[in-house]
Symmetry: D2
Subunit: 372 residues, 4 copies
């Protein structure tokens, strides 16, 4: 009756990954599961793998020990003081399962070696199944044309493919489910999706909605349901930390903006207004978003709604990573193949779905969970 599930994280020493690993350990020591949706009573009885049976590993390009990363996150107010001591054993175990991203050889070689890392992780830890989740830095947008054959050729060629694509392929080669928590290229190209289907594996994403977009995904349906025309929706996001530094690169920010804007347009149509993502170094791991919505009521009277969201992204993201690991493990168990649109609840840019209303997405998720 073991049934251990592996969670393979691309970017395994980053803030989201560290918070996920540390948080799972803290929950096992008795912390209340705030933010873990699959711990809500509504999910009971669905046969999800218990949190205590998740085993963490992953790839990263740095070797900073997790204990060190935890200390940094404690200093930044993301994790509670005193945590590192309590969960030292779990951090050490995860450290042993995190390996450096392979380099050298063709890109195909890299994919193969990454897949071997994942398989070795499963074998070493006696895992029933593995879910791979991309929590690495956001990449710039990238187009890949053609099908699996062209992609295979490209892997042996000189065109430098995005790291997220290599990661997704490695997951599929290793028989793992794949989730993209970011807006990177990964499973966007048709060829990558076909690859997953050939391997009879599920995939999901993209770009977890944890803050401003989360709030938008309940406010926009409100305006729609009340027939209130929205004229302009403007937003400014201030963030520091590693994520902020990445998004200070306009090309990475472009990936993020595309994800962010898709939902609004699909919920209420095209409206005026821009979305800014500002890197503000002193904000550290915290994010503040201000949104200004201009709408009109009866006979065209102009009204406004503004909101300010002040959150800590890693602390909002980490419990969702746990959810996605458990839900994807269930999909694997059920033999689900291809896109998982029923996970749209978690994403700004839900794969193969145009539903962005959070409540409807939640209800859809619950229906799938209890479908068997």
């Amino acid at each position: 009756m073991r049934r251990r599930v592996g969670v393979w994280l691309f970017g395994a020493r980053g803030s989201v990954a560290t918070t996920t690993i540390a948080g799972a350990a803290a929950l096992n020591h008795g912390s209340p599961p705030a933010g873990v949706v699959t711990e809500l009573p509504a999910f009971a009885g669905a046969g999800l793998v218990p949190l205590v049976q998740l085993v963490f590993g992953g790839h990263d390009v740095v070797e900073t020990p997790l204990a060190k990363r935890v200390e940094q996150l404690v200093a930044g107010g993301v994790l509670p003081p005193g945590l590192a001591g309590l969960i030292a054993a779990e951090l050490a175990e995860a450290d042993r399962n995190i390996v450096l991203l392979p380099t050298g050889g063709s890109q195909y070689d890299v994919v193969r070696r990454m897949a071997e890392d994942i398989r070795a992780f499963a074998l070493r830890n006696d895992l029933e199944r593995v879910v791979a989740i991309n929590v690495a830095s956001t990449e710039a947008p990238y187009e890949i044309a053609g099908g699996v054959a062209e992609l295979r050729a490209a892997l042996d060629g000189s065109e430098v493919l995005p790291a997220s694509v290599l990661g997704a392929l490695a997951a599929f080669e290793a028989g793992a489910a794949y989730i993209d928590f970011t807006p990177s290229t990964s499973i966007r190209p048709a060829a990558v999706r076909e690859w997953a289907v050939e391997k009879r594996l599920p995939y999901g994403g993209q770009d977890a909605k944890t803050g401003e977009t989360l709030v938008k995904s309940v406010l926009a349906p409100m305006f729609a349901a009340r027939a209130l025309p929205v004229h302009a929706w403007s937003g400014t996001n201030l963030l520091g930390g590693g994520d902020g530094a990445t998004l200070a690169d306009p090309r990475a920010a472009e990936s993020k903006s595309i994800s962010k804007e898709r939902g609004l347009a699909e919920m209420i149509g095209d409206v005026a207004g821009e979305v800014h993502i500002d890197y503000v170094d002193p904000m550290g791991d915290w994010k503040t978003a201000w949104d200004h919505v201009m709408f009109s009521g009866f006979l065209g009277v102009r009204m406004t709604l503004q909101f300010t969201w002040q959150g800590c992204d890693s602390a909002l993201a980490a419990p969702l990573v746990l959810d996605l690991a458990r839900l994807s493990a269930l999909a694997l168990e059920r033999g689900h193949v291809g896109a998982m649109p029923f996970l749209g609840f978690y994403f700004k840019d839900p794969i193969e779905s145009t539903e962005h209303s959070l409540v409807r997405q939640y209800d859809e998720l619950l229906r799938w969970v209890h479908a068997c």
Copy 2:
């Protein structure tokens, strides 16, 4: 194929009623139906009475002509300049259908005379059916014990019953559906509800959600769906105008606060924080609400969400009055008897329902509309 429907307004010369009557006329002259939910494509084909076939009348305690009231609302920025001239004929027609609230005799006599006024309105305008809607000032809370028999006795006694109760009974006596758009007593007592059932009539309410509570009804389910514990929810409402002056009376404000707080508790449980309703005379017909929500994420990290809503209550309420008139007319046509919980979408304190999530309420309303 006439099928005209009467809309009988208690408080027929108030801001909400005037905006409703003027707005319906403006729509018939080609204004876009912003805020009228039943004009959304999703409601097409349900056989709702066309807006142009609504006929307005009602009771009030003052005789200010509607044209004068429209002028005041134009000056307050609620209605667009130039409207009064365009819709002069419709205002004059409605003026003829608005009568003074009867006084003198027993309370039972008052009810009978009010019912006669409603029946005369139906006859004079050749109406197929009538929906009575209470848009008068909010009353203080009032308890009525016992059943129909006790209520009949009380009507002939010396205890002064709330005006909203007399209005509801008059509606039922006249064969009209009844909606309470306010948090007053009206249909709260079991005896009043039994009276409706005896007459085989539908009723609905209470306390339209148009601003702060509307936003709460989408934000609270967001926190619930994401398993984010809310620790405190505080709100301050600033409003002027007649509504503000009424709510400056702490006893009337109590009715409003009870309605306002019910939904939050049912959506996310008891949390710290107060709700203030401040009368700020210079705000006129405009309302500003600021809400501060303190919640925690993973491992207890504290985060906040604040919003500021700046709206014009009458302009938000009026299109909903039109919706409720059309939907209640449909309920009458379908022979629905008793409470209409499927109208919960419109109310802070939805009768015979504990569902407060706006999106779920909307879906439930649509299911009922298309149920036949």
Copy 3:
């Protein structure tokens, strides 16, 4: 005892100019002088020209009658309904004093013809003195090197100089004081300033502070006076209307941003954070600014201050134009030559001054006014 003063506006049919002319007329009909600083009791006895003795004229590139522009501003909620009728005579008088900007010939010819227009205005209206104020659209930044001699040569050359420079020179040629209400080039070049001094005339500016920067100019000194280190100051400005459309051009926005940022740096040093200026067409003549300030208290605890300003720029600017006309007329009367740093109270980028604290600027202004 006449003592009439001319106010020559560059951009005389724009929103600020129209609001100024219409507002001055409304004040003469009895409107209270909200926003006119020089009408405060503290300015009494200083011998400022009465508002009723101001006469308006100017240059523009369009010929739309002011009455039409007033109608547009009434529709946009900037001016009160019913105003146009009341002040029809004053608008017609101003219309007669507004002429098309001359074109053709060398730039020197244009300056000479503009100066003639101003002198003709003074003669025709029997004016004691004239103050010229630039309220035209913001230009892109432009550098002019050298002194008066080089500038004279450039006026006869093929290099296209900014319109604001030609306007300033025309004012000086006509013996008028000059104020730049915008961040354009105008009096920035040393050569233009020398030109004014040669003509023994005063000049002032630049870039009126009416909204976000006004608030900054009291908040930043607060942090400084309380020794609270500010780490980041971020701002987003949403605006529509003509001003918004101009600033949607990144080169014009650059002029504005330079002005906006100067004060903050001089008040509290360099801090992180960006300032966005977004053109949001549906905002019309209204502007909303949100600012987020991150600072720390004792022992480094991080705190925040946010503000949201919702104002109508033209209605904030117009009374300041009246102030500047009166104050500059006083400077002319006193024979002041060169820069007027004592007008820094009005500007984001105060000429020959590094004082940005609004209260200190106000006290300095009052001292100058009462200096004789």
Copy 4:
């Protein structure tokens, strides 16, 4: 060349006192003096006592060691982690100087014993002078009529006088300067002030401005200087912690509200709007204030300014306690007798001053500091 100055705190184990004592120690260990106004360059050369020469003691009704209180404030995010160890010696020293408030006997006896405690503190620590500062919980308002003779009689009578009055008298009996950091009764009665003058001692207060009122004291002068009429100013303060619990008592809140509202009325006259102080337990030591200001511009156009302040009161208050100790010691040194209106910069309800503009108060303080 010793010149050590004693700081005697009433409420010496409260949050403000603990943060003050811990903060002074941290500064002596090299923390930057954020928030300490008297460390600004502008105060150099004024002969203020160096921070390192301040010695702390005081009265309290509890005996919780300061080290324990520091731990609690670290947990609440007020003080940085790791502080307690660094400053253990200083905390222990202060602990030795803090004594229980005497009880029993007549009130006059209590005053005498309190004065003896202060004198003993001075003697034991070889202090040149002592400044007593009230940082105890806010009391309900209390009226004391008559002069010193009546007050002496009352001290021996059965009427229970506020603790803050006994503290002020004890300070004067011990030859100490006295500052009220709270809005309590203390130095409000004429008799208490006469007592100070008889003893040739200075006193100052009341009610430190650290958050919402601080911001008001720069925004209100802005509206006044720009001649913009303010119609309504509404505020909601959310706070937890001990201060919040005290202010949840409506009688204590009344003292606070009186202080808070005085400045606004003196700066811009009477305006509509209420100020709420809500106890929100989960806020802990943090405070959030939201203010909404409705004003009008030219020709009556309505505009708004809102701000949200999120601060930690103790961390804002503590450096001001250090300032007030140093400045009052200077006043003692200079032989100043009676009220110290030049300290108005620090207070919501500045004694013997009607100036509330922060910048003018700052300039006045600097003038006094450099007056010799």
